[in-house]
Symmetry: C2
Subunit: 192 residues, 2 copies
């Protein structure tokens, strides 16, 4: 059995994904984790501190999913396609992105830090792979890879928003297909 | 002075945008609207019914902002660019998109209806303009306009997510710039 701190973090991860920050009460965390009443403030100074630890873990999980895709041996632009089409829980939404509309995000930097860190990581990794595609000759040097990385990340984040809004995973897939078409359209084919 | 029903809807619109559904209490709506305690259930059967009316109004406002841009006399692809670069309250987020991560959205169709209606409207309008761009010869006939419309809408929605996450409007602008670059790259120039 995991220790109490881990149980609290695991329960909070799930509740934040399902309900968000505001709607997750310390009581619900205690109930879901099975931890004793005194354990909460023994391990964490506040709900925000526990939530920040949970978001940090969620971001680490997501990073672990991205790493092998973005660092595979495939050509760079194929790795971008693999990122766009990787399996996602469309209807659950993004564990990080879904937090951004919580009002507390504007005030609480502890809670924003893991979000900023994950988005920065994803954008930088995508930009690095796009720059590799430029060196491989598959992508024009005129394209700003930082901007395009932000567009790809936004497409995925917005894809979750559409899937949630329609309650239909296909709405995310459609946005992803459009992005794939754009990638196909700008790819510079090597002369044979 | 607006009538009580209008006051309730206007207050709810603001609170949903700022806090979301779960965190908006009937009490907060009454306080913000200045309406009397009995008026809430006189005009609306539930918080969800009032919220649905408020979201409907918010969606109507957004439609009114889109209409002149997508139906201007500019060439079709320019109208797409105008859509991407129209002024937005990046840090407040999208009034419709921000609702999609509320748990109640999965169960309550009354509340989901205005969201589905707005996203459907925006996607169809964008697809129509993209099809015009194809007829004008500015866009390849090989491009699926429904997919591309979804990608553009997702880029905007995801742009809000990034701006909120970083608490920096520039993060949304960056995603939009990337999309503009893609549009530039796929535009078919007329031969002179």
């Amino acid at each position: 059995m995991a220790n109490t701190r881990e149980q609290l973090v695991a329960a909070t991860k799930e509740l934040l994904w399902e309900r968000g920050y505001e709607a997750t009460s310390p009581r619900a965390i205690l109930e879901k984790s099975g931890a004793g009443q005194g354990s909460f403030y023994h391990h964490f100074s506040s709900k925000a501190a526990l939530a920040a630890a949970a978001l940090q873990e969620a971001a680490d999980d997501m990073r672990c999913n991205l790493e092998p895709i973005l660092h595979s041996n495939a050509p760079a632009l194929q790795r971008i396609r693999d990122y766009l089409t990787m399996p996602r829980e469309e209807l659950r939404g993004c564990r990080i992105g879904r937090m951004t509309h919580e009002p507390i995000i504007r005030q609480d930097e502890t809670l924003r830090d893991p979000i900023v860190a994950y988005f920065s990581y994803a954008e930088q990794e995508l930009a690095t792979v796009l720059a590799e595609a430029q060196r491989e000759g598959a992508l024009s040097e005129n394209i700003n890879v930082d901007d395009l990385a932000a567009t790809l990340l936004a497409t995925v984040q917005g894809g979750y928003v559409l899937a949630r809004g329609f309650q239909d995973p296909e709405r995310m897939h459609q946005a992803i297909r459009g992005a794939l078409t754009l990638i196909d359209s700008i790819e510079q084919k090597k002369e044979v």
